[in-house]
Amino acid sequence: MRTTYREAVRMALREALARDPRVFLMGEDVGRYGGTYAVSRGLLEEFGPERVRDTPLSESTFVGAGIGAAMAGMRPIVEVMTVNFSLLCLDQIVNNAALLRHMSGGQVAVPLVIRMATGAGRQVAAQHSHSLEGWYAHIPGIKVVAPATIEDARGMLAAALADPDPVLVFEHAALYGLEGELAEDAGPVDIARAAVRRPGRDVSLVAYGGTLGKALAAAEALAREGVEAEVLDLRVLRPLDVEAILASVRRTRRAVVVDEGWRTGSLSAEVSARIMEGAFYDLDAPVARVCSAEVPIPYPRHLEEAALPQPEAIAAAARRLVGHG
């Protein structure tokens, strides 16, 4: 069937609410407004205000309440409008959700799912555009996933809900309108493995979330020049599927890591270090990175575009590695 990323997330939410009475959705404007990105439109009408709960603008408290409800055995799905606003509930996520199992000596579980939008590309300026999922991927005790395809938008939620630990789902805001085919019987997918989205033998382009499409576009351009790029979609940012990364690099002997986060202290730094630790002698060239420029995302279109990883920059980095640059 023809659908969108947005509708795929909605299908997953609807199915979760229908299947498990412990599941409820809460967040700012998820109900009457229909969701900031129109993801949850119609769910309030279908499931009622007890299970689709509009919250006040109190990120710290409603996320904390989600943690508490999860401790008590519910399966809350908490929506935080964007990762930028999640900084108001960072304390609850990092000091409670991530730590409770360990601090309690394994007695307390937090089977919570937190969804949030991330990323730039819509000219909404610095306080609405950042990609901070790499920060969350630093924290033991939480899992971090980034659906980049319609199948994953449809299938990751069920796996996240089935997980006994807190899972953060990062939906890139520029992907909601993405259109594509989805199998009628599409269902849950794993949240354990990275996926090769395009095989190739000359260079590995490692990407996730909003940068997957850009890496695929770069691979397309490279193919026209006779360079076969493999595109690896990380899918899960914590715990990283290091085996898949190393296997790809061993095939291609070169890697470009693409990350919408800033380069310094980023997820791309982690991926690069893992390659260095695990496949150093398989490499024909140093790992390259294409990240956001070290600047808050500016408003004007030309500067925003210049600040973000773009297919041309990814292709150029790959060309340099294969000696075509």
Partner: protein, 336 residues
């Protein structure tokens, strides 16, 4: 709420000035909406249309040395603070001549020279900044007010409560101005606040408070003057609530599923601009030529601003990394 009609009829000159201020905001924003449709202004655009009496009345109580902190719905506040319409429009276009060099856009208008400290798009993010600006004044014995505008949605954030408490505890000169337009995006205030009487919230923090009809610019001005005097006299912070209404969608992406059209129409009957016109006409203070003159001036200001923004240059891409730190690489110097 202050009694209706407690605000005396203003002088002709003053009445015309208030009318002009509100119309300047209204016409500027109507043009912004058009420009948004044409793709000249992009990103988010939050219009203040319907709420103009609040900023207009409140600004009259402030002096040039006072500081202002606002939200992402701040075009009117910036304009009345004296940010030239041209610099404001250029900012919305993202041009290098904008009041924030084009980096911020509609939600992040700044003019530090006029002590206009933004333009904050994190709900309640500005309140602690206002507390700090006021603290600096206190520490330096400056008799200035910091006016902090925020929406009803901010009432639910911890920062609102923490800021009121701290400002009251330290008796800081902050005028907290809640623009209660009854909605935080699609969530009506009854669905996000357990206590709807904001003066009671303030009382919980030992803070003086008053509630005023935000559709009546004269009432807002009178209340803001009382509040600002109190704050300036060193009595501590003050919470002024202006009850108002946003006529347009929250932003351009909002399909407005959450409020009935009749409700919007009912509030439009209370449009603060015709209301002031009616008051002035009834008092014999306003003639048709006056309105025509104000409209002409407002239209000229807007068109000049648009022309300036159109003609202004884009910032060169080579400058992408500027203004992240004081020095280009942000490397620290030696020990001072």
């Amino acid at each position: 709420m202050s009694e209706p009609g407690t605000a005396a009829v203003p002088s002709r000159e003053h009445g015309l000035a208030l009318l002009s201020d509100m119309l300047r905001i209204r016409r500027l924003e109507e043009r912004c909406a058009e420009l948004y449709g044409q793709g000249k202004i992009r990103g988010f655009l939050h219009l203040y249309i319907g709420e103009e009496a609040v900023a207009t009345g409140a600004m009259r109580a402030l002096r040039p040395e006072d500081a202002i902190v606002a939200t992402y719905r701040e075009h009117g506040h910036a304009l009345l603070r004296g940010v030239p319409a041209a610099a404001l429009m250029a900012e919305m276009f993202g041009k290098a001549t904008g009041c924030s060099r084009g980096r911020g856009g509609s939600m992040h208008l700044f003019d530090a020279g006029r002590r206009f400290y933004g333009g904050n798009a994190i709900v309640a993010g500005g309140l602690p900044l206002a507390v700090g600006l006021a603290l600096a004044d206190r520490l330096r014995d400056e008799r200035r007010v910091t006016a902090c505008f925020f929406g009803d949605g901010a009432l639910a954030e911890g920062e609102f409560h923490e800021s009121l408490n701290l400002a009251a505890l330290w008796r800081l000169p902050v005028l907290f101005l809640c623009e209660n337009n009854l909605y935080a995006m699609g969530t009506a205030i009854e669905r996000h606040q357990a206590q709807l009487d904001l003066t009671l919230k303030a009382r919980g923090y030992a803070t003086a408070a008053e509630s005023v009809d935000g559709m009546d610019v004269l009432a807002v001005e009178a209340a803001a003057r009382r509040a600002a005097e109190y704050v300036r006299a060193g009595e501590g912070p003050f919470l002024l609530e202006a009850k108002t209404y946003r006529f347009r969608a929250h932003s351009a992406y909002d399909p407005e599923l959450y409020r009935p059209k009749e409700e919007v129409e009912r509030w439009k009957q209370r449009d603060p601009i015709p209301a002031l016109e009616a008051t002035l006409r009834a008092a014999g203070l306003l003639a048709d030529e006056d309105v025509a003159g104000i409209e002409r001036e407002a239209a000229r200001e807007v068109e000049e601003a648009v022309a300036f923004a159109e003609a202004s240059p884009w910032e060169p891409v080579e400058d992408l990394l500027r203004d992240v730190y004081a020095t280009p690489e942000g490397r620290g110097g030696g020990a001072p």
